[in-house]
Symmetry: C2
Subunit: 309 residues, 2 copies
């Protein structure tokens, strides 16, 4: 199955308590597409960049077999720029700067070759842009959507129209509570499902991720890492791994969703081990499969052997 991933392609300047990086390649679509491409063969990227965007970065995406036909270049514009500083525990960050630049006028016109995409990944963007994409894809098999507190607060009405067309919403626990206006996560998820998405994935950072699908709840751990370097992009890589697994499986049964959540977690566990994209540029299938098995073992409850003694 083919995957269309729409989002940002950006320059990031990142500070952590331990290190920093200036004007590196970032953006939700970049992270998501690179992760998805490890799992699925046909990954199509839609985003907008400025004339300042280096050819070598486009080549980086092309060399990985990512379809960039839908990467729009505004020659006299500047690429989206984001800068953030992580706190001591790396769980929280402050945004230092957001220069929308060309993103401000982003009105994606999908190339004809994108319109038959099977799995659509709507990165965290203005819901009106997400809607614009959905209008152009013909009968997708699965629509996966990310959003954030900014859109929940600023554009609740258009977000709700998007949600009516979404199959899987991926949010963090805080966003889920905010969107549903309910402090209890289980109740919040029920309320969000009533808005449209049959399946909800709640990301909990270092606490793992939860899947709510039909009557099932599934809990995937996060890999406890002793050396988290940079959490940037973890959520986008999660979505890429999640979508990539489902496109590869070509099937959306509950067990496929469960394994997709673990696959997303696996991919996210790699990206945080180095700055920016660095650690997901040269993974092998053996590394990905090996870490999948580590995740499985992490939460496997052993069967009772001989108790009560």
């Amino acid at each position: 199955m083919s995957i269309l991933t729409i989002g940002t392609v950006a320059f990031d300047t990142i500070e952590t308590p331990f290190d920093q990086a200036t004007m590196i390649l970032g953006g939700s679509a970049t992270y998501s597409a690179i992760a998805a491409r490890y799992l699925a063969d046909d990954v199509r990227l839609s985003a907008v960049i400025g004339g300042d965007f280096p050819d070598k970065y486009i080549a980086l995406l092309e060399d990985r077999g990512i379809d960039v036909t839908g990467l729009e270049v505004i020659e006299d514009g500047k690429t989206f720029f984001w800068s953030g500083r992580y706190h001591y525990d790396l769980n929280n960050r402050d945004t230092l700067a957001t220069h929308l630049n060309v993103l401000a006028g982003f009105n994606p016109e999908l190339p004809p070759s994108y319109r038959d995409s099977d799995v659509v990944c709507l990165g965290n963007l203005d819901p009106l842009v997400q809607l614009r994409v959905l209008e152009q894809v013909e009968d997708p098999d699965l629509v996966i959507c990310d959003t954030m507190n900014y859109w929940i607060e600023k554009a609740p009405e258009s977000l709700k129209i998007v949600l009516q067309q979404v199959d899987v919403l991926i949010v963090n626990d805080e966003e889920a509570r905010q969107l549903a206006d309910d402090p209890n996560l289980v109740r919040a998820v029920s309320k969000i499902r009533a808005m449209g998405p049959a399946t909800i994935v709640v990301k909990k950072g270092e606490h793992g991720a939860m899947l709510f699908h039909e009557q099932s709840i599934f809990w995937a751990p996060a890999l406890p890492l002793d050396n988290i370097v940079d959490p940037t992009g973890a959520g986008d890589v999660f979505m890429g791994g999640f979508a990539g697994h489902l496109a590869r499986a070509g099937r959306f049964e509950v067990d496929d969703f469960k394994r997709a959540v673990v696959t997303g977690s696996v991919m996210a566990s790699f990206v945080v081990e180095e700055f920016g994209l660095e650690n997901i540029l040269a993974l092998t299938p053996e590394q990905i499969d090996g870490r999948f098995e580590v995740f499985k073992a992490l939460s496997a409850v052993p069967v009772a052997v001989s108790e009560p003694a």
Copy 2:
């Protein structure tokens, strides 16, 4: 195997955003012993109460088959009193009052019949009191210890002496980071293990619990509940269930510890569904076993069926 649980027996006044209860039976030893008794036959309680403590509450413990020989009564003293108010999301609480009363002078003198206890549960108390208990138990098979930020800040030296004699430390993630002075949980756990306890259980509230034992890391989910009424005692019930499982298994292999963490989580999931102790006074083995299976299913990663398709 026999279990000795030492901690508080108290009156609690609890406010949640939805309800309140005044002067109900509480205390860490109460919660812990009641939970442990569902799993293990020989549960011994050590605590101190005042002359104001009603006989019916002592009868409640005795009727459940809990050994209260070591429940010291100070006739002219008042029982420990705690009062707290939970925030809207029930994840945080403010302590409104702590009246130590008879707990201030607590210097436990274990009955001779307690001194051969196999599993010792040191509830969250002054480390000097925990040490006093350890001096009196003859060669226990397993020492499990709870503590909190108050003792980490106020009594770090005596706490470190206790930790040298502890096999399993149960703390929450914030306490682990504070005790080790390291924001990374995996590194924090390594540092704490160097202080004495070979096994660490990190409680993460609604995010589950993690076990660090030998080279293994195990992650137990929390049950997503849509109606959490009162989190009071959840940590104590967790310790009781954890210790109860190990005493019943009579063995301390890694798989026993994993199942003990799940059992602790199971027992904690019951107690939060009603105010105070209410929901753990009449559980059946079928309810406990049934919920254990629910926990297992919650985090079981399905095997791949036919992918890649």
